[in-house]
């Protein structure tokens, strides 16, 4: 709500208002106190509608090139991120590193074509672009070494520091406005969200080859990490006098522990089966500090809103992954993977004093004069069951004395583990309705002659689960000691978001029924049908991920 409203005020000031002789304004500070997810959903939808993604963090460019149908092929230190039993295949001390770049292109539809600003000409929206911000990130650093070998019995140890779950979702949005009557300067409003951090895992892995071709393993994941959002909104009027940018900050810290368990079976040289189970685990999330600072224009008041999202325990459901690989002819591997995680069962429990206090938070600045809406003590989070089915192929294109070049292709169908923003998630709060509910006498209800929106109410997630398909390709260059891998994945899906990241404000996402005449029956019950929900923008999004990884063998080092 706040960011887009402030953005509007910035634009309004820059484009429309000629304000000679500005008065001196004082800064305004609003303490939102300690709030819960219901408030967060109204306050900053972009922080609420996002996946908790444990699939996109699985390392190895080789895997990405095969459409993530890889668990049965995992046999180097990167296997720790797929199935810990995979490192049982190591013969020497081996070190592997992995990184990625992720970006997106989007086509937005459903946004308003014209903004009607009171007492000013209409602003036409000439373009609206919203996309995931391009980011280059580390993926994993992992090592493994054989420890003990007695006949066919072999112990292999490993250690890794890796990205375990993605929680950040940096976006950038650019809007161009033109005065509808053709006058004035064009205006560009840009949101730039810099967001870093993830849930990271570090810890040891132990794999045991119990018989030739059969191995089991486990990884102890000590979970840590934090996410930090720093977003700014800038207005370029093209004519100078642009107002100062508004900023938004949010931080969270993660702590926890989880186990990954896995098994791999190799039946001869041509068939491999593998599985991984990550049992349910709990993350302790703290430090949800939130702040928005904005100004309505050059030399005008600075408004600072701050508060804290209550600490909470996030119980992540177990993840199951199964895969098979078959080698029908020399040089060719065909693979298939299935992943399931009942993210719809994710649990949230507020922790500490916050669980007691957030219900009393004064959120009048959100709901105007009609009092706060207490956050529900058992919040819903917009997560949905994850299912992914993927297929891959690897073909050795060249196999020479100087090296080997395999190429890979893959396809996947993925249901993303969250529910997108939906207009049914919110409903407007009307002054006349709440006045009636508060027991205002029928004869006095006539004072509410027209619809007046006093806020929004969060109803819980009702949106669609985004699902899409991805195509991937990749290649490796393998020498005697080092292997370099490159993988590219292009994943397309549709989702929705609120225009201007706002569930309601008077300009960017107004209630279309605002100001409509209200009619009552004899009992004082309003009979005028009114819209109940804000509008959303549809995004046709294509996310491109490029992974690069390298593996180095150190024969005889240990």
């Amino acid at each position: 709500m706040s960011r887009s409203l402030f953005r509007f005020l910035l634009a309004l000031t820059a484009v429309v208002a000629a304000t000679p002789g500005r008065a001196q304004f004082e800064s305004i500070e609003i303490d939102a106190g300690r709030f819960g997810f219901d408030t967060l959903a109204r306050l900053a939808p972009n922080l609420y509608y996002r996946p908790f993604d444990m699939l996109g963090t699985r390392p190895d460019a080789r895997a990405l090139g095969m459409g993530s149908a890889y668990i049965a092929m995992a046999d180097d230190p990167m296997a720790i991120g797929w199935t810990p039993s995979g490192i049982a295949m190591l013969e020497d001390f081996t070190l592997a590193v992995d990184g990625l770049n992720r970006s997106s292109s989007d086509t937005a539809t459903g946004f308003p074509r014209v903004l009607q600003i009171p007492q000013s000409p209409e602003l036409a929206i000439s373009s609206y672009d919203s996309r995931l911000k391009s980011q280059t990130l580390y993926g994993s650093i992992a090592a493994g070494v054989p420890l003990i070998q007695r006949g066919s019995l072999k112990f292999v140890g490993g250690f890794s520091w890796r990205r375990y779950a993605d929680v950040a979702r940096a976006e950038e949005t650019v809007q161009d406005f033109l005065l509808d009557q053709g006058g004035g300067f064009p205006v560009t409003v840009a949101d730039d969200s810099k967001e870093r951090g993830s849930v990271e895992a570090f810890g040891p892995t132990l794999a045991l080859q119990v018989a030739p071709g059969i191995s089991v393993g486990g990884t102890a994941n000590f979970l840590t990490g934090r996410s930090r959002l720093t977003a700014s909104t800038r207005v370029n009027t093209g004519g100078g006098g642009s107002p100062p940018p508004s900023t938004e900050r949010f931080t969270q810290k993660y702590d926890g522990f989880s186990m990954d368990l896995g098994a791999t079976v190799r039946l001869g040289d041509r068939l491999r089966l593998a599985g991984r189970l990550t049992p349910e685990y709990t993350l302790d999330v703290t430090g949800g500090s939130y702040e928005v600072v904005s100004s309505t224009g050059v030399g005008t008041s600075t408004i600072r809103v701050f508060g804290t999202l209550s600490g909470y325990e996030l119980t992540i459901p177990s993840l199951l992954s199964l895969g098979a690989a078959i080698k029908p002819i020399d040089r060719l591997w065909l693979t298939a993977d299935y992943v399931s995680q009942k993210m719809g069962d994710t649990g949230v429990v507020y922790t500490g004093a916050a669980a007691q206090s957030f219900q009393d938070v004064d959120v009048n600045w959100l709901t105007f004069e009609n009092g706060p809406i207490p956050d529900a003590p058992g919040p819903e989070v917009p997560y949905a069951d994850l299912t992914q089915l993927s297929f891959g192929a690897e073909y050795v294109l060249f196999d020479k004395s100087w090296g080997k070049i395999p190429v890979r292709f893959g396809y996947r169908s993925t249901e993303l583990p969250y529910l997108a923003a939906d207009s049914l998630d919110y409903s407007y709060r009307y002054a006349h309705v709440e006045a009636a509910e508060d027991g205002l006498p029928v004869d006095e209800l006539s004072a509410f002659a027209v619809a007046q929106t006093i806020g929004v109410r969060y109803n819980g997630p009702n949106g669609q689960q985004p699902d899409g398909t991805g195509y991937s390709f990749g290649a490796s260059f393998e020498t005697d000691r080092v292997t370099y891998d490159l993988g590219v994945d292009v994943f397309s899906y549709e989702e929705t978001e609120f225009y201007g990241d706002s569930v309601w404000d008077a300009i960017f996402n107004p209630n279309p029924d605002e100001g409509r005449r209200i009619l009552y029956d004899d009992k004082g019950t309003p009979i005028t049908p009114l819209g109940q929900h804000p509008n959303v923008v549809s995004l046709d999004r294509t996310v491109t991920t490029i992974r690069f990884s390298a593996t180095y063998n150190f024969p005889g080092l240990f």
């Binding site: 992995d98 580390y138 650093i141 020498t479 080092v482 390298a550």
Partner: protein
């Protein structure tokens, strides 16, 4: 910028440079045994001895005898002998007594001032030219460079 940060960066750069350049030299056997005075070579002698460096007068070389390494200077080079002077033990293999015994068994003539080692060129069993190992260097530079970049992203995300 705090001095400690510079220290960490310095140590990291040195470590990275070491990892990148380790193993960048390779030894290529010379079939006919011919070499130039300006070339960096390894002469392999009988009885597990070798001489590393440029075989030229006043050149500083490394002499290895059964695992023990000595720093020395070439005093003269003829068609029959290579004479080393200023011999200093750098690394000893085995006990001091064993090293002394090996030196005593060798063709070493020690006068009052300068220890001297006379190497007979007739005992040269092989010559290897020390060259730049391009593929190994490229392999190391790319792997450790990539590792450094990814480690930087990891630390940057946590800073």
């Amino acid at each position: 910028m705090y001095p400690r940060s510079w220290l960490f960066r310095g140590v990291g750069l040195v470590l990275m440079a070491t990892l990148m350049t380790t193993g960048c030299a390779k030894r290529i056997p010379v079939d006919d045994g011919a070499f130039e005075a300006q070339e960096n070579v390894v002469l392999l002698f009988s009885n597990d001895r070798s001489l590393h460096g440029k075989i030229d007068t006043d050149s500083s070389v490394r002499y290895v005898d059964a695992g023990s390494s000595y720093r020395a200077q070439i005093s003269s080079v003829s068609e029959t002998t290579i004479i080393l002077e200023g011999v200093v033990l750098e690394k000893s293999a085995g006990s001091v007594e064993e090293a002394a015994l090996r030196l005593g068994d060798s063709r070493m003539a020690v006068d009052d001032e300068i220890p001297e080692i006379v190497l007979l060129r007739s005992e040269v069993e092989g010559v290897e030219r020390v060259g730049f190992d391009g593929p190994t260097t490229l392999r190391n530079v790319t792997f450790w460079g990539l590792s450094g970049v990814i480690l930087g992203f990891l630390l940057g995300e946590r800073s």
